[in-house]
Every structure is written in structure tokens, then in C-alpha cells.
Amino acid sequence: MSVTVSVPTILRTYTGGEKSVKASGSTIAEVIEDLEIRHSGIKGRLVKDGSLHRFVNVYVNDEDVRFVGGLDAKVHDGDNVTILPAVAGGSAAHERQTML
């Protein structure tokens, strides 16, 4: 499965400045593994302790993957995967444990 991945500005240092790159895989986890082979270091910004990093949102087409299986979310040939930095924060001194 070949998909197009939209890369946010903050991660374009890994893609040589490219805004959009190709990757393959049948799940988000596989797509990220393939991205890592092509753009070394990017995985560490997307995955932490076996799940998606709380600092990023990942979408398959219009769907937030957190609601469709997270790293196990399925992708199909021609899908668009979009990565956006999560915009969050707040006055709390300690981060909340559950972020959804």
C-alpha cells in the first residue's frame, strides 16, 4: 500500500524540507516504520512507549487515528496520512495522564 504523508513544518528537518512524502504499509505502525527507513529519526517524534506520542495528531484521510485503532489503524492504497503537531497546554503544573 502506498500512501502520501503530509509532514508538518516542525518535522520537515527529517524529510529534507519536503512537505509531502510517500510511504508504504498497511497500518499506521508500518507506515511509520517505512518513514523511519527513509527519514531516519522521525519515528522518535511520532511514537513513544509503543503508542502515538501525545504531542502529535495523526489522521488517515479525515479520521483521527486515535479513534480507529491508533498505531493499528488500517491504511489503504492512495490514502492521505496527515501529521499535525497537537496544540495543547494550560496552567496545570502537571500534565494530565489521560489526554483524549
Binding site: 516542525i10 495528531n57 499535525l84 496544540v87 496552567s91
Partner: protein, 151 residues
Amino acid sequence: MLTIRHDLVDAMVAHARRDHPDEACGVVAGPVGSNRPERFIEMANAERSTTFYRFDAAEQLRVWRAMDAADEEPVVIYHSHTATEAYPSRTDISYASQPDAHYVLISTRKPDTHELRSYRIIDGEVTEEPVDVVESYMFSHTGADDVPDAS
């Protein structure tokens, strides 16, 4: 320095007051590279919390796509603190990922007066900047050369 129109400041403050005591959040979009905030976009706080905010992921995707299509970027990312000062918390700093954005904080802890301050947050380092509130951008110089060198 953040140079921003009066009506945009009023809109951010009104949003913060309306959602008090929950934190309010949103962006002001502007043309890519212009450093000029123009289009006010109020965002839902998916957390509906007095101490935390998070853009709703689905709404953020729609808004970010619309900005992309219009050659815009988030020039200002704002949120309110409702019981503490308008200074970035550790949580704010850990999430700040847009080196080109002005992070605006509005404190609504006092009922009659608000506090509005602006920061750059780059690689975990917070730098406060002056805020110049103007009636219109027509007579104010807001070109890219107003941005300090990154050194």
C-alpha cells in the same frame, strides 16, 4: 514584537472572558511569512478544563487545511489562564511546536482587567516580546524584517 490589530485583541479577550473559568484557545491566521495576524479563529477546548486546553483534533485538521489552501499559517496561537498569570506553564512549553508563532496568553484571573502577553517558544526556551496594538496595519510596518534574527 507582536504587532496586532485592536479588534483581534478584543476578540481574543472576549473569547477568554466568555469561557472563563475554563481555558479558551484559538489561532489568528495570516499570510505565510507575513508575520501579520489577520483572521481570527476561535477553537473549541476539547478538554473543557480550568487548567488545560487542547485543540479538538478534527477541528484542527479542518482549520489547518483551510489555512494551507489560503496560503496562511497560524501567526498567533492564544489561550487563557483563568486563575494564574499570563506566563507559559511547563505544559505550555512542552507542547509549543511552532517556532514562527507568537504564543499569546491572556489571564482572566481578575474580573475587571485582563493581562495579555506574548512569547516566542523555541526548543523549550521562552522569550517574552512586546505587544504593539494598532488600529490598522496600514500605517504600521509589520514586514518580516521586524522579526529578530534567530541568533
